[in-house]
């Protein structure tokens, strides 16, 4: 599924772009508590990488760091050759995020939410873009209803469109399959597949192994704030994930 409409016209003529997201020895801590410990991994263009792990392993923290919302206490995060602190707003125009909280204004309509964020991203023709996005989400008829009245699935569809409005290079998704029915899951997977075909970098966290299976190229397992090795035995994603957790525990003894 290709993205309809004209390509994103961000404000900076010299647009920042990159083809790799790289975490190098990234740690994040508060006092004694370490949320992430020396995390190192990379995602390349045209890849869908899943971040797996038990609750509290630090998956959302990784996404927050990748989105430049959080800053690492140690280590560096590189976007191609760029570093977040130096690149600033132009770098952010290449990142889109679908957060767990969905980050939409419940007091505004779906259309108003999309137009607002499109305008913030410096896009032109916000009305047309918002309308097209709503149609893609299958919410054309609910465009002028307040988001507060939507179900979680519907809000997620709007939030996903918002994350993709400015055609980001890096797409971050926090548990995107949660609360989606089969059809929506399949639609989302197809959408991500299309983005992958356009050389986007996609990093997502999930607990829904079956849904992710179809789309994920690679998986990174986080446990207690560190990367655990990804086991290769077993067929399905679920089996490999469980195996890698077991191995990690055994390796620690």
């Amino acid at each position: 599924m290709s993205s309809a409409g004209p390509s994103a016209a961000t404000l900076d003529a010299v647009a920042v772009d990159f083809d790799q997201l790289k975490f190098s020895e990234v740690s994040r801590y508060f006092g004694r508590r370490r949320a992430l410990a020396r995390v190192t991994f990379a995602c390349c263009a045209g890849e869908v990488v899943a971040l797996l792990g038990p609750n509290g392993a630090g998956k959302s923290t990784v996404l927050g760091l990748a989105a430049t919302i959080l800053q690492p206490s140690d280590g560096t995060i590189r976007y191609g050759g760029y570093v977040a602190a130096e690149a600033g707003a132009p770098l952010r125009s290449r990142i889109g995020m679908l957060a767990h909280e969905l980050q939409l204004y419940p007091e505004l309509t779906a259309r108003e939410n999309l137009e607002f964020f499109a305008a913030l991203s410096g896009l032109d023709e916000t009305r047309a873009r918002a309308a097209a996005a709503l149609n893609r989400a299958g919410l054309g008829d609910r465009a002028d209803d307040l988001v507060g009245g939507f179900s979680r699935g519907m809000r997620q569809r709007v939030a996903l469109e918002r994350a993709l409005l400015h055609d980001p290079r890096l797409l971050l998704l926090d548990e995107p399959f949660t609360g989606l029915d089969e059809r929506s899951s399949a639609a989302l997977a197809e959408r991500l597949s299309g983005l992958r075909a356009r050389d986007r970098i996609i990093l997502l966290t999930t607990h829904d192994f079956e849904a992710a299976e179809a789309i994920v190229d690679r998986a990174v397992v986080l446990r207690g704030g560190r990367i655990a090795a990804m086991a290769t035995s077993g067929d399905s994603l679920r089996e490999r994930y469980l195996a890698s957790l077991r191995d990690e525990v055994e390796g620690a003894r």
């Binding site: 707003a89 952010r92 419940p106 918002r162």
Partner: protein, 227 residues
Amino acid sequence: MRRFVRVAWLIMRKDLTVEARSRELLFTTLFFAMSIVLVFAFGFVRDGRPVENAAAGILWIAIAFAGTLALGRTFERERYHDVLHALLLAPVDRPAIYVGKLLGILALLATVEAIVVPLIALMFQAPLFRHPVLAVALLALGTTGFAAVGTLFAAMLVRARSRDVLLPVLLYPITIPVIIAGVRGTAALLQPDADLAMARMWIGMLGFFDVVFLTLSLWTFEPVMTE
């Protein structure tokens, strides 16, 4: 620069749209301001006559208390569903977010003051509008100073614990010069023989305060908002 202004305007417009739909902040802040006036009036009106300068003091207390309430609530809306992070992620100059929120709160407070100030003039028989230009300048600059610091503090407390109680705890000591200038300036205007020079002096100080603290807020907004 144009983009900065546009972003600030977009955010202000978004706030006003949200507010226009529910009018929650407008009504609650207005009512709260009136309640404050009433509560303090019981302390300062005796035998049917207000204590001297009561009107000036009560006016600015009402602005401070109501302003704090509105500030807390307007950022609570950004905290709900974590929308503030979506704003921070957007490819915008982050201080523009600050300016947008500030303009929104100023619009709200201006509306509230437009109703409360004449009411105070009425209830306390205080000739607040004998010198309308000076009175409006005093109110405008004073409210701006208070809101400038308040918007920054409310924004930075969004991710803190105990934010409800910490906002007034932090805001009131820092905005004491604004309150002093507001009260003394208003009192100068209310004197039977209005001391216009004094009022102008306070207005000057408020203007200076506004410039300094707006600049400081713009300067520190980004470092203070990044985790």
